[in-house]
Amino acid sequence: MIDGAKIDIRNLNVWFGEKHVLKDVSLKIKDNAVTAVMGPSGCGKTTLIRAINRMNDVIAGSRTSGEIYIGGDNIYDSNTNVYELRRKVGMVFQKPNPLPKSIYENVTFGPKIHKMASGKSFDEIVEESLKEAALWNEVKDRMHDSAFSLSGGQQQRLCIARALAVKPEVILMDEPCSALDPAATAKIEQLIRTLTEDYTVIIVTHNMQQAARVSDFTVFLYLGKVIEYGETKRIFENPENVLTEKYITGEFG
């Protein structure tokens, strides 16, 4: 259904202990687009995106079966370099989590780990990433202040800049605006739209209006299964599945 798929998810199943959280999920995610993942609490949205950068691996008792192909390679293959995967697939968390370092050091953290630059060129990476994240003007005079001196919205944009600094191909966002006020949310939604030029974005959101505003495609998950997947406009105006319709009209959430 979706051509030019950046990420090809096939028969993905995830268990946390005995709990079967994701059931036979198969999706093709389009590149250079924003795909929203929606659904009621506990339906597996976060688990789904965490499967794409294998962050579920760090949770004790987690088990994953199935394949996810990014750029032709199955990331669950036994000789995948997980660290390189996480560079290519960046993540922004629900609650902004700047590292306890300066603004500058937050952005250079990733490039340092992956030995992507040295000496002076760090300055360039920092400037570039902060500009991409629409934060440069606000922090250029206080780069060495603690990251915690920033407001919530600024911290989140810093986290985005941090993820961008390692030149990823995909950006996963787990309800990035849920801890922010409307003004900060608007800034970040604007930012997300500009990112599709160079990146593939997948955003988990509880907020239907946000999904409608920001995304090109939408996945509706319910109890770990994909109920519906298609162009956002079509899903909101003409849902095929009765469950989708009920969720959209707010009958349950």
């Binding site: 760090v58 004790a60 996480r86 989590n97 941090r162």
Partner: protein
């Protein structure tokens, strides 16, 4: 009316133990302060051979620093292992229990272990090195538990952020969790030092002698300490307590300033840990 009286009664009841502790504390300080008359800068810096305390003070310091140098790194790494890597299961529970037990071993028994293992088996003899190892054993549970707490207080989000950027688990811990936990770790080391600073039983026959000629020149030399000196003077030499009040006061002041510096450090670094608020 009844409720208010109940509250007042409770408040008083809870206040009494505090007052008792304070009274006990000040009484001890008062007794010790009787030794202040014998102290002056000269005594603290003159050699024991000339009636001063110099080698004893330095000896105590050497002992404490060495013990901290051993138990610090080992304790922190053990804490990291226990919090971040240890699988939940029988072996980990046994290790956990063993650490608790180590904390409860009477110091004289640790001293005996030190004597038979470090001094005799390992051939270190009555030495600074044997004292270091023995005291390190006593400090270890304190350093491990304190470091565990410090590590657990660091938000997991830091480590997660690092992992999501592509670090290995160890790199994530060493670049985010450990630096953030550092103040708590340092505090627990200082508290560990304060705990063993006055230790007599453990170093009684593992590292101390009454008199040495000058300062120890190598870790294999024995050492003079304040606590040992007090013990020997009272028990073996039958000296009147007044003779050692000065020594006791110096020892007390060392421990008190260590504890105080731990508190100051902790308060100072709270500012740099905004996630604690």
């Amino acid at each position: 009316m009844k409720n208010r009286t109940k509250e007042r009664l409770l408040f008083t009841a809870l206040g009494i133990p505090t007052v008792i502790c304070l009274i006990a504390f000040f009484w001890i300080v008062y007794i010790l302060s009787m030794g202040i008359g014998t102290l002056n800068w000269k005594i603290l810096t003159t050699s024991v051979l000339q009636g001063g305390m110099f080698e004893m003070i330095v000896g105590t310091m050497y002992l404490l620093l060495g013990a901290a140098g051993i138990s610090g790194p080992i304790g922190v790494l053990a804490a990291v292992y226990l919090v971040e890597y240890a699988p939940s299961g029988k072996l980990t529970r046994i290790i956990d229990q063993a650490i608790n037990n180590l904390a409860g071993v009477p110091s004289i028994v640790i001293g005996l272990f030190g004597y038979t293992f470090f001094c005799t088996q390992l051939g270190l003899g009555i030495s600074l090195a044997a004292g270091w190892l023995t005291l390190a054993l006593m400090m270890l549970p304190i350093v491990i538990r304190g470091s565990e707490e410090a590590i657990k207080m660091v938000p997991v989000s830091f480590k997660e952020a690092a992992l999501a950027l592509g670090t290995t688990k160890w790199k994530a811990i060493s670049s985010t969790t450990l630096p953030a936990a550092a103040p708590g770790v340092v505090t627990s080391v200082i508290l560990g030092i304060a705990r063993v600073a006055g230790e007599t039983a453990a170093i009684l026959f593992t590292s101390c002698v009454l008199i040495t000629r000058g300062l120890p020149k190598s870790p294999l030399d024995p050492v003079m300490t304040l606590s040992y000196n007090i013990f020997v003077k009272i028990v073996a030499l039958g000296a009147p307590p007044e003779d050692v009040f000065g020594t006791a006061l110096v020892l007390f002041l060392i421990v008190a300033s260590l504890a105080l510096s731990a508190i100051i450090l902790r308060t100072h670094y709270r500012r740099k840990q905004p996630w604690l608020r």
